[in-house]
Symmetry: C2
Subunit: 357 residues, 2 copies
């Protein structure tokens, strides 16, 4: 019975001595770009959830319901003033503005100081303890002082290359190495996604885009660090490579025609070493014409395991789902900067969400 | 910020103001049958874990190290007096005696009153809130009063047909139905397992064994209830069937020869209905000559998902792993009777386990 207590059952919370009169789970949406719109719409589909504030740089003064295409007003006006959006005292913020923690730090600090819990899709906050320990410590301390919880989540980082493999190791006696492969056929994805992965680029253009940082999927390091943190591994050496996957024959879809020798997409590989031994390997591939999409976790240990999500986990749907589904967990969690390995399973709920907090 | 707080990061615990001087994680083994021996041996392989007490009805007065085949003494003598085994004040008990919660209740209450956390492989305590609500409430209250945590876990119930599907729903916007299939080729399993599944029985013998309760896998109801609890579903009707899988041609292995018309194993199906609609379906098959073993979760929702563990999750290894791996989570958890859906991911750890508590 030593140490802090980790987890309180949601059973307990709904029956325990909760004094607050809960009407609805109240959230504010910080960031209404394409992902923010998804988060917001999904949250508003749930019973017992209401929006009380929203920020974005565009559409200022307009009603959120109209901006996200609900065809009706919600009584919440878009602002670029974060404190104004927090004035209605939401239970939680859905934060979806930036991938960079350095850039998002001030926004997060402002929300924490307003004593509001945060679910963020900022990739770099999913596990910043190794990559940006000072900011992590600063936000963790600030969150504890203000009695709020901050969680970074999404599909990747947040689930398919970190939480999912960690959960699967539960049935292993020991683990020697973890390999995760996320392979996506980009044929049916939106044109911006196809451009993001370099489809149609010559090898030279691909290298230029890579150099400008536009091709990089953010989060492999954070996912690797989360796995290592759970397993008790120390990563001594980490390497990440980004390379084009080159078309051997012409391939075309409704948006593009890729000629032989041009890129059909990208392969990003992250290798984590401990004491000269490869312990984590992440393979992220997104390209036109992949024979199939899938997510596979390979665990080398006792026993070995191979677990596959057939057809893969859909990126945009999954990120929105994970962030919205995480809201009750985060509202009820202990204060501090937590990561997905620290909280109980996140899942959707068919009933009234206000009963979960 | 309303309600109780759910989860404290293990990061926090290892750095936070823990006042106790931790030398090792100290456990007592209650029950040293075949599964208890596995639990005990696995726990003792870990760095930073020691055994301080053990009970069983056999081998009384012998040293645990010798009884479990370590070939050396551990200084812990087997007793049939539970309080004697708890006298050394373990941090946690690994409880592995019975499948029936009704029968295990008094043991559990005794351990709780001694203020010791419990990880139990008792199938019926994995999610007793619907099946045995009075005992669940009684143990939950007792655990809270004594500031201890009780968790039932294992492979099934505990992981493959409950926690695993619940975790996978995290990336879903909504879920309409969950189907879980656990198929095991029994050819390489021990003779007692082959007998347990009715291999070699005539259909009449199979029915006799079924009537005596010897063929039933315990836990499908608990797993179904855990999923329903997470999803916010109310099960109005639950049905479980057990039937032989009949050999079409002769099949033999090192233990048995099964003739056509005899049983090669068992199929147990559990169907949960809500408002006239099937919402959870569990298919458990164990038989000689299954083309392959696998665990597959099918989620019908947005999006649909199909997730397969190739070769299936090994039963005995997985149960021991899950129970041992759960010890730090349970030691650090909030008091009460918790279930796997309430605690953060359980996983092995390569370092010193005393640092986790």
């Amino acid at each position: 019975m030593a140490g802090g207590r980790v987890c309180l059952s949601l059973n307990h919370m709904s029956t325990g001595g909760v004094s607050r009169m809960v009407n609805k789970l109240r959230f504010a949406q910080v960031g209404l770009g394409p992902m923010g719109v998804r988060l917001c719409k999904l949250a508003l589909e749930k019973e017992g959830i209401e929006i009380v504030g929203a920020t974005e740089r565009a559409n200022l003064g307009k009603d959120v319901g109209e901006v996200i295409g609900l065809g009706k007003k919600l009584g919440v006006t878009l602002t670029d003033d974060l404190n104004a959006a927090l004035a209605a005292e939401p239970d939680v913020v859905l934060h979806s503005t930036l991938s960079s923690l350095e850039l998002a730090k001030e926004q997060l600090a402002t929300i924490i100081k307003a004593k509001v819990d945060i679910v963020s899709t900022c990739e770099e906050i999913s596990y910043p303890w190794q990559t940006q320990p000072e900011i992590a410590k600063e936000l963790d301390t600030l969150a504890q002082e203000n009695n709020v919880t901050v969680l970074g989540t999404g599909v990747n980082p947040g689930f398919c290359m970190d939480t999912f493999p960690i959960v699967m190791t539960g049935v292993c006696q020991k683990v020697e190495k973890i390999r995760v492969a996320r392979v996506q056929d980009a044929t049916c994805r939106r044109l911006p996604f196809q451009e993001k992965i370099g489809a149609g680029c010559t090898p030279e253009e691909f290298e230029e885009r890579k150099a400008s940082g536009k091709l990089r999927h953010v989060g492999l390091r954070e996912s690797s660090d989360m796995i290592a943190g759970a397993m008790g591994w120390k990563i001594n050496d980490y390497r990440e490579t980004i390379a084009p996957i080159i078309a051997k024959k012409e391939i075309s879809n409704e948006y593009l025609t890729v000629k032989p020798g041009q890129a059909v997409g990208v392969e990003q590989i992250a290798i984590s070493m401990m004491n000269g031994k490869e312990i984590i390997r992440m393979e992220f591939q997104a390209y036109l014409g992949a024979p199939e999409s899938y997510d596979t976790v390979y665990i080398m240990g006792v026993p070995n395991m191979e677990v596959t999500v057939k057809g893969g986990i859909q990126g945009d749907i999954a990120t929105a789902s994970m962030a919205v589904n995480a809201m009750p967990r985060v509202i009820n969690a202990t204060p501090g900067l937590l990561t997905m390995k620290d909280i109980a399973p996140v899942h959707p709920y068919a009933g009234d969400w206000s009963k979960l907090i």
